[in-house]
């Protein structure tokens, strides 16, 4: 199959890739660009472990074609921390024990990061609905909710 050249911003850096039109964004990220923080869980958009940020929206990268990211701006878990250190959501997940096996964590963090921009001061109910596209088998969500709340407070103080 003829390959397409695509170019997009990944965690602030311009990147290029040659992809088949059918290639999924998650495979390009993981296999071509070696950003393995984004995981694959179900390949049907249900579990959310592949969640990345595309042009300011949370998307499931297992059901987005890489060519759809052409010219776009992608943020993955690898792009959350900066020179100052961990992002508030990363720090809060550690402090509130919001992760166990770590497999859902990157998608969960990228979603939380976007969700708190959509709703900077959420109630528990709003967190439950706003994060509901991301599944976790380990934590029972309770500590993730605490972490998102605590990150919200931190971000509002900043």
């Amino acid at each position: 199959m003829a390959k397409q050249h695509i170019s997009f911003k990944l965690n602030g850096q311009q990147v290029d890739a040659l992809v088949e039109p059918r290639e999924l964004l998650v495979h390009t990220l993981r296999e071509q660009l070696s950003q393995t923080g984004t995981h694959i869980g179900c390949e049907t958009s249900h579990c959310g472990v592949c969640t990345v940020d595309l042009n300011g929206d949370s998307v499931k990268s297992c059901t987005i074609l890489a060519v759809q990211a052409n010219g776009g701006d992608v943020l993955t878990v690898e792009g959350l921390a900066d020179a100052e250190g961990l992002h508030a959501v990363q720090e809060a997940f550690i402090q509130e024990h919001g992760l166990q096996c770590g497999f859902c964590t990157p998608g969960m963090l990228v979603r939380a990061h976007r969700f708190l921009q959509e709703n900077p001061d959420p109630t528990e109910e709003e967190i439950r609905w706003g994060m509901s596209g991301n599944l976790c088998r380990c934590t029972g969500y309770q500590n993730i909710i605490k972490a998102v709340k605590s990150a919200a407070q931190k971000l509002q103080q900043a």
Partner: protein, 801 residues
């Protein structure tokens, strides 16, 4: 003299047992720097994908690989005929049966592995799978286990047709796997004949799948020059995998390296050995290149190990006051097409005989029959010790039925039957020795915390108004920490576990265990054990697991065995080091060993203030100044063979409100009190309990793997298979008591599975309790809105007046 304040600060600096230390694992995971199997990339790596059967039972007439092989980028298509010369077309199961690696003349289940394609990348492999042409001749399908032993039932396993046994005792039919009996049948029958009251309850525990978010997979790499095989694999038991690989391939263990890297959840699913692993290994050996095989979600749910599928009948004999005189249990176990359930060898029904629960039951008898059907093989322990979830479900449900029949409150009937604190260690009628427990205290604490009488009063008021509210109560006992090698082995290897600890000259430590974390936080908690035992900060203690080249042999992590067995090995190895350190300290201070006392992080000369050596100082001396005749260094290994299992317990209470018109169940409150003995990291314990409760909620409320009459699996995507989201999951309240295990070096019992085991019957109990005044004694899971509505409809409760 050290002030109390100084002592507290020295204690705090260790971050040892009992503190809620933040997890050592987390900084990697939150930055996307985990290393899971699918993250492993090797030069020249190829991808494997499976051709799978669309039929549940069929003869394979032909397989045509030509078109697939003609596709550019395809390296090989392997079938059973290709594996036959290597004698790898069948593999032994952990239960003494065999399982087809690739279907040999017949398929026995839908999605069975028929051929494996090896290609340059996963897209080409998937294309090639579609190009492999397989011609099938469908055969009659056996789905209902109740029909498996009918005289005219289709014979499934022709390979085993003439065998007297398939590894677990005599058989009575070609579709029969085993009969397992335990207890005194005639004494139990007598108890029933003489009883003032008896109850019988049939119940089905559906087939459910652990479904961790990471599916199974591996990367196999055979080095033709060195003859070494390296396999990265999603395994909860890497050392067992190495032994199996050696037995199958003939490559010596010293040349087989199995690495379980980070694992994205296991919950029992990743204990077994799957055809995908074997074919990836074979392909790597044949092609001389690394081969990666990763399941998709549908393959995962369709073929790798599921749990339960027990058709159970529970019977209790009792007196008028509800005091139990006997328990009788019959089970029909559907094991699917191959007997590849994961249990210790001598336990065909796992530890199901823990079914007497927390109760003083004088006599009991259990009989379990296992049969083949045209379904995927399994019967693993989904977040529980082997078949304990089924056992706890049975006794807790049947006891509620007895309470309802006698009109005794469900808390009161438990109190009347509990094993009393002074009866421990308690011998159960079915052969277990419960190590310790205080069931009354746990129950009373929970009833007080939720105002149980108040809840019952509210329920009365609601019933008067025609509303449905239910209160579920469960007082469970688990058996974990498998196990004593005299009774537990896997493939002949005793179920010990191990720890190897090295203290370096400056007091930093590296320790390796035979277990493997899958989210339980071993890198954090094992370090806490060593910190408390050795007086060295857990921040300076590095824990490594999962690499068979470096870690000591161990049986792995499942059945809540890491703390009871691996944790015990860690404590004992650390104590060996401290004993040596004491000798060195005595030598350094020129006193006798007996003059020294241990104080948090140092040895002190008794009665001589200021005469002391910290463990750090002793560690330095261990490498340059040891007593004459002593060897240098400061390290120890322990292979811990537990003297008994451990028996964590708990009391759970659930309150539900049910919508009469839709059947929707709202879990209003769930209160979970756990007693896991000594608590190593309360934060991690609470996290494990939240997770276990949520998995219990999933099983009770929605998980099932239904098959239609033709053996088509109807629930193998996350659209159909229920995994609760943030929205459905209830809020959890947790509590605890501490009753240490008398035989564990730290008094710890293990915890992560209790919430799964205990919560499932609690949800059922709550829902049934909402209907109990209408004469309902039991409702089978899953309690989806539709199924609950069916019950409402049957009772005519959904009619609007």
């Amino acid at each position: 003299m050290a002030t109390a304040e100084e002592e507290v600060s020295r204690q705090d600096a260790l971050q040892g047992i009992g503190c809620s230390r933040k997890r050592k694992e987390d900084p990697r995971f939150v930055q996307g720097k985990g290393n899971y199997v699918d993250d492993v990339k090797m030069p020249g790596m190829l991808f494997a994908d499976m051709v799978r059967s669309p039929y549940a039972h069929a003869r394979i007439k032909s397989i045509n690989k030509e078109k697939a092989l003609a596709l550019p980028g395809v390296h090989a298509v392997l079938t059973a005929d290709d594996l036959k010369p290597l004698n790898l077309h069948w593999m032994p199961t952990l239960a003494g049966d065999v399982q087809a690696v690739l279907a040999d003349e017949k398929v026995h289940m839908q999605y069975q592995e028929v051929a494996v394609v090896i290609a340059d990348d996963r897209y080409i492999a998937a294309d090639a799978v579609d190009l492999v042409e397989v011609e099938y001749e469908p055969l009659p399908v056996l789905v209902d286990p109740h029909k498996a032993l009918d005289p005219d039932a289709p014979i499934l396993r022709e390979d085993a047709q003439d065998k007297d046994t398939v590894g677990q005792g005599p058989r009575k039919h070609p579709n029969h796997i085993f009969t397992w009996e335990v207890g005194d049948e005639s004494a139990t029958d007598r108890a029933f004949e003489e009883a003032e009251v008896t109850v019988t309850q049939e119940m089905y525990y559906p087939r459910v799948h652990p479904s961790p978010l990471e599916t199974c997979g591996c990367v196999a790499s055979f080095d033709k020059v060195k003859g070494n095989l390296t396999v990265y694999i999603t395994s909860q038991a890497p050392h067992v995998v190495r032994t199996v690989v050696t037995l199958l391939s003939g490559i010596p263990e010293s040349k087989v390296r199995i690495i379980s890297p980070d694992i994205g959840g296991g919950f029992g699913n990743k204990v077994g050995i799957y055809p995908g692993y074997v074919t990836a290994i074979v392909a790597s050996i044949v092609l001389g290149r690394p081969v990666k095989w990763i399941e998709d979600r549908m393959e995962h749910l369709s073929t790798t190990a599921w749990a339960r599928d027990y058709w159970m009948t529970g019977e209790l004999a009792a007196d008028k006051d509800g005091r139990i005189k006997g328990l009788r249990v019959g089970v029909l176990a559907d094991h699917g097409a191959f007997n590849s359930h994961a249990q210790p060898t001598k336990w065909p029904a796992g530890f199901f005989s823990i079914v007497t629960g927390s109760y003083d039951i004088p006599t009991a008898y259990v009989k379990v029959d296992g049969v083949y059907t045209n379904k995927s093989p399994g019967g693993v322990a989904y977040r529980c010790s082997f078949r304990v979830t089924e056992a706890v479900y049975l006794i807790e449900r049947t006891l509620d039925v007895l309470a309802q029949k006698l009109g005794i409150d469900k808390a009161e009937i438990r109190r009347r039957n509990f094993v009393k604190p002074e009866q421990f260690p308690y011998q159960t009628a079915l052969g277990w020795e419960l190590d310790s427990g205080d069931y009354h205290t746990a129950l009373d604490k929970v009833l007080a915390a939720v105002d149980y009488p108040g809840l019952r009063k509210e329920q009365e008021e609601k019933r008067a108004k025609g509303e449905l509210m239910g209160i579920g109560l469960v007082t469970f006992t688990e058996v974990v920490g498998a196990g004593p090698s005299k009774s537990c082995d896997i493939l002949g290897v005793g179920m010990f576990d191990s720890a190897e600890i090295r203290v370096h000259p400056t007091g930093s430590v590296i320790a390796r265990m035979g277990t493997i974390t899958q989210g339980q936080g071993h890198q954090t908690t094992y370090a806490q054990i060593i910190a408390s035992e050795l007086g060295l900060s857990s921040e300076d203690i590095q824990i490594e697991e999962g690499d068979t080249d470096t870690a000591p042999y161990g049986l792995g992590t499942y059945g809540s065995r890491s703390t009871p067995v691996g944790g015990a090995a860690t404590a004992v190895a650390a104590r060996k080091i401290r004993a040596k350190a004491q000798k060195i300290a005595a030598h350094m201070m020129e006193v006798s060993e007996a003059d020294l006392e241990w104080d948090i992080d140092r040895f002190k000369v008794k009665g001589v203030p200021g005469q002391e050596k910290t463990m750090k100082e002793v560690a330095w001396a261990a490498y340059n100044n040891v007593p004459e005749g002593m060897e240098m260094g400061l390290e120890a290994v322990d292979y811990y063979d537990p003297p008994n299992f451990t028996y964590p317990f708990g009391t759970y209470l659930c309150v539900v409100d049910i919508d009469k018109y839709t059947g929707q169940v709202h879990v209003r409150r769930f209160y979970a009190l756990d007693d896991c003995g000594t608590r190593i990291n309360p934060m991690i314990i609470e996290g494990q309990i939240h997770g276990g409760l949520t998995e219990g909620f999933a099983v009770a409320m929605g998980q099932e793997m239904p098959y239609d009459e033709e053996g088509n699996l109807l629930g193998n995507t996350l659209m159909d298979y229920f995994i609760p989201t943030f929205v459905e999951t209830p809020h959890w309240e947790t509590d605890y008591t501490v009753t240490p295990s008398p035989h564990h070096p730290l008094g710890a019992k293990g915890v992560a599975e209790s919430p799964h085991v205990g919560s499932i019957p609690c949800f059922t109990a709550a829902i049934v309790d909402a209907f109990s005044h209408l004469g309902i004694t039991h409702m089978d899971m899953p309690h989806s809105s539709y199924r609950v509505w069916q019950q409402l409809h049957e009772l005519g409760l959904d009619k609007r007046t």
